[in-house]
């Protein structure tokens, strides 16, 4: 039951993020009166400036999806090679060096680390070695950095188990090289374990992106995000504009809950298959 609910919530979130912006008009255009309640013309109502909230919520969901997916992908790109390399050097100094770096990073809570990194550079684009880095790219990089220790530990732990298993010994006896062994045989077996965690990480990333935007550290105006929509809506509750905070809030909850439930179910399946 929870699997189906999760799939439905995540599906609705992804559908809104992918198809919504195509169907809706510009999320920044002033198309209606201020604070119009939901209607056929504006299914999610309008915001305090008269912008269509369906267009803005869909665009915000797209931003959440893109930022969280990119952050998790970037984290995997860094963490998996690091974890595999550490596993290969299990117990020796490269392994210990990687693990100590990972552990020291994990001392700081992930969201605090992201806020700290973004706060140090200030909200807005920056120049790094002469290259223009947009705010969105900085957010992706900061969230990704928070996930690297998480994925690196999982990749290392899974790879250590695999490297000590009988089939790996057999392959070694057969003359398969260590690098080929890691890439062709160990990595594919580590992937399902990581895969189950990816959805849970996506949930955290969606939450982190929403939280950053809520705090004013997210994607800059006038582009909407679910977090800054909710932040803007707070003051409008006094005027009875319930839809302004509720609908983007529900979309954010759907995305986070959907990722959590589907990820949880995937982890359950993995445990069951191992027990068999």
């Amino acid at each position: 039951m929870a699997d189906r609910v999760g799939t439905a919530l995540l599906g609705a979130f992804v559908l809104l993020a992918v198809v919504g912006p195509v169907l809706a008009g510009s999320p920044t255009a002033l198309v209606g009166d201020v604070l119009e309640p939901p209607s056929w013309a504006h299914p999610f109502g309008t915001d305090s400036l008269g912008r269509d909230l369906f267009a803005r919520t869909a665009d915000g969901a797209r931003t959440s999806l893109v930022v969280s997916t990119a952050a998790v992908a970037l984290a995997l790109l860094v963490a998996v090679p690091a974890g595999l390399a550490a596993a290969r050097a299990h117990g020796r100094w490269p392994d210990q060096a990687v693990m100590r770096v990972v552990e020291s990073t994990q001392v700081v809570p992930q969201f605090v680390l992201v806020v700290l990194l973004l706060g140090l550079g200030g909200a807005g684009p920056v120049q790094v070695l002469g290259v223009h880095v947009s705010t969105t790219a900085r957010i992706v990089a900061c969230i990704a950095l928070g996930f690297v220790p998480f994925f690196a530990r999982i990749a290392r732990a899974s790879a250590v188990v695999e490297l000590e298993s009988e089939y790996v010994e057999a392959l070694r006896v057969a003359g398969v090289g260590e690098r080929e062994l890691l890439v062709r045989d160990v990595a594919p077996n580590v992937a399902p374990v990581l895969g189950a965690q990816v959805l849970l990480a996506l949930a955290i990333a969606v939450f982190a992106e929403g939280g950053l935007s809520f705090l004013g550290l997210g994607v800059p105006a006038p582009h909407p995000t679910l977090g800054n929509l909710i932040a803007e809506a707070g003051g409008q509750l006094l005027d009875g504009a319930w839809w302004y905070a509720l609908i983007p809030g529900l979309v954010l909850v759907a995305g986070i809950t959907g990722c959590n439930l589907v990820g949880d179910a995937a982890a359950d399946r993995l445990v069951r298959s191992d027990l068999r």
Binding site: A2, T28, A29, L30, V34, L35, S48, L49, G50, R51, G122, A123, G124, G216, P220, A221, P222, E232, G234, G235, Q236, L237, L238, D239, T257, N260, L261, D264, D268, V271, R272, L275
Partner: protein
Amino acid sequence: MTPSPLRADPSARATIDRRRFLGLALGAAVSGPALLGACGAGTDTSARVVRRHQDGILRIGVAGAPSNINPLDSGSELTRWLAEPIVETLYAYDADLRSVPLLAVGEPEVSADELTWTVRLRDDVTFHGGDPLTAHDVVASLDHILDLSSGSEWITYLLDYVQTFEALDDRTVAIGLVRPYGLLRSHLTNLPITHRDAVDRRDAIVGTGPYRLERFTPGQSFTLVRHPEYHGEPGAFEGIEFTVFTDGATRLVSLRQGKVDLITSVPYQNLRAVEGDDDLALVLADSPLDVLTYVNLLAEPFSDAHFRRAVALSMDRAGVRDRVFGGHATIGQGPIGPAERGWDPDLAVYDAEPDLDAARAELEQATTERRGFRITVGTSQLGKEIASVLAAGWATVGLDVEIEQLAGGPWSSAWLANEYELLMNTFQSGFTSGPANYLTLAPAHSRNLLSCGYVDPELDGWLDRVWETDHDDERAGLLRQVSARLAEEAVMFPPVYPRAAFAQRRELTPLDPEQLRISRLAPHELRFTSS
């Protein structure tokens, strides 16, 4: 079908797994507000407020607090609303906004060549610590603001004009000028006089006003108590307490609940909520509240006059007025607004609605190839909303606008370093200029430190004369010319002139609209209606 080993374990029922936790959280989210709503219903706020007033404390909710509370450094409303009951000036505005002596005795003596002003001080005034007011305190205050390292905002007013200042005796100050400076009277009417030991402090205010600063928690609250030795009529309240609520809605809710008696900077989107509450009074005042709008003429694209005019013509002024300020603003033209000296109600360079055809025609003549620019605003919600409405309007003529939000320090740095394209922010000028707005005009002068790159010798001459003359009518006439020129040349073209919004409980006497015209709350002149 094999049951899941995890679910077969009876102990699993007692644990809170991820799914159960999500369910519990959802239930709490749904039921929590309903329970809280039920608990909060049925209280008589007005009676509670009257009971609270028995302690004689006036409570004011403000939007923020400066890290540096020295009123000699900043003319911003955040600093000066707090400092208003604490510090006083040599001259002050009377009920008709005429400058009259306060700490000074009589009018200043001005030498025949107009280069020396001599001010005599009262001998019955003491600071909050008990020390008498002397000419050395006035000199120390002037010393501080003319010290470049202090970073005082006032330096821009005095730097090119004031040459010397000295205490001739304990009760007499002489100010020597480089050239005649009629505007000095305005500055002496707004510049707070601080005890000489406190002029350099950023964590203390020691003045001669009816209230003294008793204690404060940085960024949160400030407590003022009545000064028993005050030389004038004592304040009606035992104390005044300022509490910071950065979120506008929270500020308003605190007023509704009777936790505070008065709030500043009411969010414009919430004005209807105030109007709909019988316990509250909404005060919309003509006040020198400006939407500072500067374009950088030193670089593309705004160095191109056709581009500038296209931007000014396609500005959605009506959109900003109606969508951001709820209709409580006047359509902008030049930099001088309705509450300020030099306002010209007949100036009509731009329509309320964007003139898209004229804008496109100007863009066709523009030599710059840029078809977009960056607008830099403060971090407030108001700044973001103004920029968002304007960007949506400019998009209709093909101008791609990037919105950049900067906090106070970086925003000022961008202004000083000319690292902006279009710079915008809201600013209450009344505390430094009274019913005028001189700081806003400074960047239009080609020789000013803050020059935006506009070079117009005739306009420079007008501004020099505005600074020099001591005739208000002549100054007002010149300011009208300046405002018109800057609008026509699309150098300064604010979208609107907003009305300042305040809200107060009805258990308090109304704010004085005349004082609000110079940004003053004058809280020490209010009274509780129940007493």
